[in-house]
Symmetry: D3
Subunit: 249 residues, 6 copies
């Protein structure tokens, strides 16, 4: 699907050596392994981050190279649902430190962490602060499709979305349809709780478990997802990310 | 200025013992020690967090108690300006762990970290995730006046604000005027740079030093600040914070 | 290729919940991201560990479940070759701790770390010692095909093998031929050095960089590899591993 | 009260920049947040360290600058009394490392940690050992008034003193009378116990909780305290500290 | 017993200074403190490592110097037997880091860790990987007598040996007979268990407690031990170690 | 020399098991490996701690058991003299944590750390604070002969003593004469410096290297040492330590 792009996992060392003549930035996909309700599989975020990473690397050819995907992340909120695996924030930072240190030895000085999972964002904020001064490199990070917020607002009907919802299922239907159980699509099965006072936009933030909010593990309404919505979100985000990276690189 | 409130620093142990009969939540002010341009002193965030903490504790009397203020925070962005002291994110988390562990031994199970400094937010996100499961307590956090966003949007003229700006100087003029050198108020002395692609709302986030953005260390226009603007922001935020805490407590 | 097996990355949480009725052990594939000479791509070990994991999980159905693959490992020896990424041993142990802790919360008490990369073995020895007592679980580990040592000795002609050699290329040709550049197969380009006194079987062990030993990053003679050799090694090892796990489970 | 002194918390960055032309040493006050019996508030040590710091900085003007106060310390011994907050020794060392590292970036190479709390002394001994070689700076530390030991011996009647006693209350009456509940002054309410074999001067040292020793949390006899005793202790100590610092600076 | 050798513990600093003119490698003996059945004392491994270290240092005079012995190690497997003390792998690595860092400051750049205890081997593998790149030194390690494997195979009758067995008791009878209770020699008191599937040579490795395997804490048959067998093993190993070190030094 | 005492290093596990019926406290000798001038060898502190430990354990028979000696300690001050090895304070604490944790599993709940080296004292203060609450045990510590301060004051002529001086050489002549080069006894070769303002009794404390103080690494006057002085110091201290332990045990 990806026509021409430097994918580190699929290259030999002489090929990497050759690519490093033009490469200026490494893209590190960061996902999660966590429940996505009855209609998406647990590797969803890892796969979406990798698929976005491949397409972005392709657009930035020959200046970008795609590093291996970090396929687990900080998923404490989801740990009560069967199958979720959560890394400590300190573990994610350790992985990033080791990856950046290694790639820096090969001559790369700029990094984009391409993150598909909201639960990783605070950890990335901390990681970028710490590792920038520790390692003297430039580190950027982006939520995979967050820059297409206007498209989401126009095309997503659900008032609240963000996890195994209209938006995420749409992205998956476009990028990796094998992640979706199309015959099991459900909307959120919400329940009352403390979380209602802790969502973004409220005066307080705080930790709650996802099952305090939704019995089936989804929010929004996945039955309204479509590959076409996914396509518009994804392609818009990729355009904007590619443009931004070219500006700072 | 504060009429009746449980302030832990100003109590003896028998007084604390008595207060614990009604106290349900501890409020931990978190500030920073960092440059605030030519017109505010470096303790600005620590003092504002403490002042907000006192007022909020007063409103929640006798259910809240104010813990000592953490008077330094994560200020890597400002480290190139003379006088800035920055704690590692891991240090801030260690302080919070020790404070919460100690207060938990006295019977307190709920905590609000009241943070005045944007640079601490990612660290708090991580801290709350980690410490909630480690210690089995409820932890909330809030940016001191962020819940008055609508008031800011109405009364602040500068397009970009957030550090030693119209908003922050206004809050200080109302809460702690000794922090402000009123004879030295300046607006931002911006310069071109990479930061323009990394502000909130852009596709990318990333680390930059504050002096890449502004030569004098301020943003916005502090000459337009007033105690009256400060009053409206502060009082609105305090009302909303108090209401929210009562709802979740 | 895998007919019926519990693959955690490809399941929804209700499917995991159902599987946990019979699952007694989680299999964690551990690989590496490192140079494999001019004829194999850098993800080789990660892919082989995952492929072995799938097949072993299939044989142990419905008692085993396959966890996500740890796709980087301890590759300090290879860091001087372009593209290699090496995790600190402490990072690998942190990942394992987090994975096992998470899966333990879902009721799993036995773990097999299925490792394809020699450079991870010491770290696993330490990890198993530490995590067994910390977490009170049973942890086993195995080099993916080491139990077919007799087959290797019979079918591999090279005196020294172990990395991007006759053996490893054979395994790849059988399990994941896309990893191999069949048009670029080379034998080792050895050079004299300190490493000759540090190979297994010598009185001393010690660290050396792989390029001190071989200029092209391979050992043995990959031109003698075949899918048929790979098949015999792999299938023998899978049989023996499955038998052993059933005995201890 | 302090006439002319560089107080970092009350300066803007251009003022700090100017001061750094003459500043050779930074003074870091270190206190504690812990019970002080029925007649002193819990912030006692933090406030006394800061007050001593201000006065010492004044005497060393323009060669010293006062850093923000570390307002909590190692108070494990007091944790069973309501309100006490104790930091781990490792946390205190982390704070000191971050502060010294930050100030070093502004050009300061000498540091005095001015500590008012006995429970911090061992941690400081360790911190100074570790940080001196890590950071290649000169670090001194002093108990705030310990150098006036002869004055204490002459003017304090209680045989055992050191915590919320004749000495400490006297210092507070002179430096920060708001810390003292003068209407509640009590002498120690001792009880028998293991601690009697563990006080300084005994063959053994060891950990005991303060409530094993004294029911009301004090030692000595605070009813004999006076501002005049405090004045002599404090001023003698300040003279001696200032002299010593000038000698080594 | 040792005629001429640089033993760091028995030298004054001027003597060390003199020795450093010829010394090229430091030998660090690493043992353990753990149960050795009814017929050997718990310091067995520490003493044997030190004795081997002395003899090896003598053979390498004047190019080697013997560092102090690390007299405890990783003994988790034995912790259920009275008296065993086990260090965490991270503790052993910390000790090695500190020792090597110190000796490096005196000008030594090569190190041999001479280890008598199998349970330390994985930790050493990790230590050598980490410390080599951290400290930029050359580190070798060796099991004390492992290089005499052919002698053991020829002279030891027990099929399984390795801990307080024919081999180890023989080594002790030759090197340090005071370690052996000759009147209490016993052979292993084995029992059935999971361990049978986890010994070297099996497809799986994994952790088990030693008392799952042997009730008296021994394996093999110590009644067949002799000083003569010990002599041949020890002297052969010393010859081979000395030769190897000269080759790489 | 020691008639009847439980020495853990010299016991088999069945003997330990038997001893544990009466043992109530474990004694952990802690020394150092550091320069002791031209007339004492570098293992001095480790050997003296162990010798004192043996004698004290004998006096407390059958209630005490002697753990293995920690033969290196915190010797940063001496690191510039050839041969000195210094452990980080965190390493010493890790060793103590592991030892106490292990011995606690065998049923021992009280510990005495018997320390011969002043440079370890601050670390012990921290260790005892941290480990007491972490592990819920009773931990005592003592400088080996500090309780005989009155004897020292009476019999030692040098004004300043404490390291390879009249006192320490006397102790060694009595306890372990092999440590002393009697033909090379020297008094201190002092030089002027910052250290003069940092000795105990001065207002300031702080770190300095030992060679800033004394060119030959000694203080005091070792030529005045005698085994008889050593005997009185040692025997007095042992009596007092034994009495104190019996009181708290």
């Amino acid at each position: 699907m990806v026509s021409k792009a430097f994918l580190l996992t699929e290259m030999t060392w002489p090929e990497v050596q050759q690519a490093l003549h033009t490469v200026k930035i490494a893209i590190i996909p960061l996902g999660a392994h966590e429940q996505h309700g009855p209609h998406m599989v647990e590797s969803c975020d890892a796969v979406l981050a990798e698929e976005m990473g491949k397409r972005l690397t392709e657009r930035l050819y020959p200046q970008a190279i795609l590093a291996p995907t970090i396929n687990m992340g900080v998923s404490t909120h989801h740990i009560r649902f069967p199958g979720t695996i959560s890394l400590q924030p300190t573990t994610v930072i350790a992985i990033l430190r080791d990856m950046i240190t290694s790639l820096q030895q090969h001559g790369i000085q700029q990094f984009l962490i391409l993150n598909s999972h909201g639960g990783n964002q605070a950890t990335l904020g901390v990681a970028v602060d710490m590792l920038t001064s520790e390692l003297n490199v430039r580190i950027y990070y982006a939520k995979t499709t967050a820059s297409a917020k206007d498209v989401m607002d126009r095309r997503i009907e659900s008032k609240m979305y963000g996890h195994s919802c209209d938006r995420e299922v749409s992205e998956a239907l476009y990028l990796a349809p094998q992640l979706v159980r199309t015959e099991k699509l459900e909307k959120a099965d919400y329940q009352e709780g403390r979380w209602q006072h802790l969502r973004p936009g409220n005066p307080l933030q705080g930790f709650y478990y996802y099952d305090e909010m939704t019995r089936n593990g989804c929010i929004g309404d996945a039955t309204k997802a479509s590959a076409d919505i996914g396509r518009e979100i994804v392609e818009t985000a990729l355009d904007r990310l590619a443009t931004s990276i070219k500006e700072v690189m």
